[in-house]
């Protein structure tokens, strides 16, 4: 029952987004198919999440990406993270938390006029490396920072 519902949802969602995007001429069909990538988001470990999201596990480390996160987060329920990329043609920024039950928190696909800086609040279950992965000119780059969490924010 639930499975069916999810499938139906996925297909209808995918269909509607695809239609809008293609008619607007904004996205290539390949990018459209990436709509909520469950293989990446539901992956339980970092390597699986990276493989699902990027098809590769070890993006090149780059000092052109700035990851701003607190060294110590008192409350893991809301940790403010800012990722900025100075890499030319940055078109996507992803945020991953290595020790979360589902490491991939978000992928932000940027438009042509969008600056390569994103701030958001993430949940962290425990102390972990936070990893930013940037897609620029078709290549993947990353940087990471350890965030110590005093009180976890993923419940359970």
């Amino acid at each position: 029952m639930d499975q069916q519902r999810r499938l139906l949802l996925k297909s209808t969602l995918a269909a509607s987004t695809t239609g809008v995007a293609i008619s607007a001429g904004l996205l290539t069909p390949k990018a459209v198919l990436a709509a909520w990538n469950s293989a990446a988001f539901e992956a339980k470990d970092l390597n699986a999440a990276m493989t699902g999201a990027f098809g590769a596990t070890a993006p090149e480390e780059s000092n052109q990406i700035e990851l701003k996160a607190p060294e110590v987060a008192e409350n893991g329920a809301s940790v403010t993270v800012t990722v900025s990329s100075k890499l030319a043609k940055t078109n996507a920024i992803s945020i991953l938390v290595q020790n979360n039950a589902q490491p991939l928190s978000a992928t932000f696909n940027l438009g042509a006029t969008t600056e390569a800086t994103i701030t958001t609040n993430i949940k962290m279950g425990k102390t972990s490396d936070v990893i930013a992965v940037v897609k620029a000119d078709g290549k993947l780059y990353s940087t990471k920072q350890l965030v110590k969490v005093t009180i976890g924010g993923c419940g359970g």
């Binding site: 949802l9 969602l13 607007a24 928190s105 940027l110 969008t114 949940k123």
Partner: protein, 111 residues
């Protein structure tokens, strides 16, 4: 805020043609791993997709997981904006819930 019934609120500022958008969405972002007081799992309910459009262009297409904090906050910037432009924001969650709003980009402070 102009529309208090919307789940979507923005604060915007303009510097030349660069708009800074601070976006706040009211949403529980349940992971599906938390338990209620009786020990039953609270079902997952979280925004999976959030899209911002300006002048017919998608300026931000965010795919989110349940590990984004309750009431998601996103700050981003884009160029080519001017005072009074509208920004269309829409989100959808894993349970079929969705909302959208068209909000004005302005450098003026609102109460």
């Amino acid at each position: 805020m102009a529309n208090t019934n919307s789940t979507i609120q923005i604060k915007s500022s303009l510097k030349k043609d660069v708009a800074t958008i601070r976006l706040l969405v009211s949403h529980p972002m349940e992971t599906g791993m938390r338990k209620d007081k009786k020990g039953n799992l609270i079902p997952a309910k979280f925004i999976q997709s959030l899209i911002c459009e300006h002048a017919g262009n998608t300026v931000l297409d965010a795919e989110l997981n349940s590990t984004i904090s309750t009431n998601p906050y996103i700050k981003f910037q884009f160029s080519g904006a001017k005072d009074g432009d509208s920004l269309k924001i829409s989100w959808s969650d894993n349970t079929g819930g969705k909302d959208s709003a068209e909000l004005e980009i302005t450098s003026k402070r609102k109460k």
